[in-house]
């Protein structure tokens, strides 16, 4: 192989390797962004829940696990969005320092077609600091869309 041929061949190999690395990096970034790698696992254990509510619930808690505050606030009930400033909501979300890892839905109770309570057990944190917390998550349907209702008497006494 001539010197020039070798250079071209060598460059080609380097481009190939670089290209592959770029591709792998792309995949990693895609998985990270999509949340698949650090996904929150939600189990329904054959609990009956409407598809719309299920999607809203999953989306909310996925965003909560990533602490996507702006997107989360848009999913709170409209009257909560009016009452609560972004800064206060942000403080509230950031209070929960560890990450939610797993949700097991135990019960869905809808006393009205537009109002449901989802009872679930959740696992937060990693390793030795993992802790279990139970939630009674409230949801309200407004103009065909399900919204989350915060219930935290210390931080949002006016909503409570």
């Amino acid at each position: 192989m001539s010197k020039v041929d070798w250079k071209i061949w060598h460059k080609g190999i380097r481009m190939k390797i670089f290209g592959k690395r770029l591709l792998y990096l792309g995949f990693i970034l895609f998985f990270l962004r999509s949340g698949i790698v650090f996904a929150l696992n939600i189990y329904y254990n054959e609990v009956k829940i409407s598809q719309e509510l299920k999607q809203a619930f999953q989306k909310y808690w996925m965003l909560r696990s990533k602490k996507s505050i702006k997107s989360l606030l848009k999913r709170e009930a409209p009257y909560i969005q009016d009452m609560v400033s972004f800064e206060r909501y942000k403080r509230y979300i950031l209070l929960y320092k560890s990450t939610i890892k797993k949700i097991e839905v135990k019960k869905v109770d809808c006393p009205q077609p537009f109002f449901c309570a989802i009872e679930f057990k959740s696992l937060w944190g990693e390793g030795k600091k993992q802790q279990i917390y139970w939630f009674r998550d409230l949801w309200v349907k407004v103009e065909g869309k399900w919204y989350h209702v915060i219930k935290n008497p210390l931080f949002f006494p006016e909503i409570n």
Partner: protein, 391 residues
């Protein structure tokens, strides 16, 4: 017949007057954090939040039996009560949380014993469901409330070879030999306490319980009947002008609430002497009875105004702000036993402080409380600075 001189008669009369004026008892707000009555202004459970509270017996010789009472935030309803048996230098802990559809109290502490001497342990945790206040017919609920710890009595018992007192001995002595317990003004003022509100993180903030010394319970306390503050004690519920009464020693005014830059400060104001009943209908009108003399006659007893102060201009504004909870009637009132205020503080860019003033026929209100402050660094409970109302 012996005739007393005018001087002696006058002196005796004076002593008698003094004795009568002190008949409410000589309870004091403890300056060292120890007493025989502890008040925890707030517990919260739910939305991932738990509250763990602790009671410490600091006496090195006396065992103390105390009654723990959890009360709901709106109508002061008893949601759980139990006895704890504290040996010398002992500590009791329990956690209030939301679990599987109900509010529960859990403890593995061996100071938590049944009357048969069975005590909680790691292998045998005690878990009790908190009762729904007012039978679930109101918007009061067991997940938000306050706690009372009342010393029933104290006793000195023989120690084991390791210097500790056997728990079952304390339990047996309490139920079989109550007459051996020191009561009233003789109970040791040895209890101190604190609570931690815990969030997933885990992160927590704690506060110290308010301690009253020389509260002086006289009767053997049980869980078969409700114990209200002032029942069977040398200290009366009072009224706010009666020296040594509970309402008098808890009276405060001009609560100082510091606000850091960009922080959210939520004053917690609890009225432990209010002791409301569940609302009932009289002639179609919902009405509530309040046991505490300060609160007799309705909610207008707890009217307040707020003055704001900022960092840079030192300016002050006094107004009747729109706050939560929404006042039942103008001017602003605090309608519940336990009140959490959201105040529209105008100087969030710089921070500063504000002052809560209570106005009624008498200055001040009988309360306990803390400020819950949320900053970008986390949250903390800050005790109030305040004025003690002068008679």
């Amino acid at each position: 017949m012996v005739r007393l001189s005018k001087f002696v008669s006058l002196w005796l009369g004076l002593c008698l007057c003094l004795a009568l004026s002190m008949s409410a008892g000589a309870a004091t707000l403890s300056q060292n954090g120890k007493g025989d009555l502890l008040l925890y202004p707030v517990y919260i459970a739910g939305d991932g939040v738990k509250t763990t509270f602790h009671v410490v017996n600091t006496d090195t010789n006396s065992s103390v039996v105390a009654k723990v009472v959890l009360r709901s935030g709106k109508y002061s309803q008893e949601v759980l009560d139990f006895l704890i048996y504290l040996s010398p230098n002992d500590k009791f802990s329990a956690t209030i949380s939301y679990e599987d559809g109900k509010y529960v109290l859990t403890s593995t502490d061996d100071s938590f014993c049944a009357s048969d001497g069975t005590c909680a342990s790691e292998l045998n945790p005690f878990k009790f469901t908190l009762k729904e206040p007012c039978e679930g017919l109101t918007n009061d609920y067991a997940g938000l409330g306050y706690i009372e710890v009342i010393s029933a009595g104290s006793v000195d018992l023989p120690k084991e070879s390791d210097g500790t007192v056997n728990k079952s001995d304390i339990v047996k002595e309490y139920w079989n030999n109550w007459q051996n317990f020191k009561t009233g003004g003789d109970i040791v003022d040895s209890l101190t306490g604190y609570a931690e509100v815990v969030l997933p993180g885990p992160d927590y903030s704690g506060y110290q319980a308010v301690a009253i010394a020389n509260y002086g319970n006289n009767n053997q306390l049980t869980v078969s009947s409700e114990t209200k503050l002032g029942d069977g004690a040398i200290t009366a519920l009072g009224d706010i002008n009666q020296s040594g009464s509970l309402e008098n020693i808890l009276a405060k005014n001009n609560l100082v609430v510091p606000v850091s830059k960009e922080a959210v400060a939520i004053p917690v104001v609890t009225f432990p002497t209010k002791l409301s009943s569940c609302p009932y209908l009289v002639n179609g009108q919902s009405t509530v009875d309040n046991l505490g003399p300060f609160f007799a006659g309705g909610d207008d007893n707890t009217t307040y105004t707020i003055s704001y102060y900022d960092m840079s201009e030192h300016s002050t504004i006094e107004q009747n702000p729109i706050v939560s909870p929404v006042p039942k009637e103008a001017p602003n009132t605090l309608p519940d036993e336990l009140n959490l205020l959201i105040v529209d503080y105008p100087f969030t860019n710089s921070g500063g402080w504000f002052k809560i003033n209570f106005k009624k026929d008498v200055p001040g209100a009988p309360l306990v409380g803390v400020v819950a402050e949320f900053t970008e660094n986390g949250f903390s409970f800050i005790p109030y600075a305040y004025d003690v109302p002068q008679p």
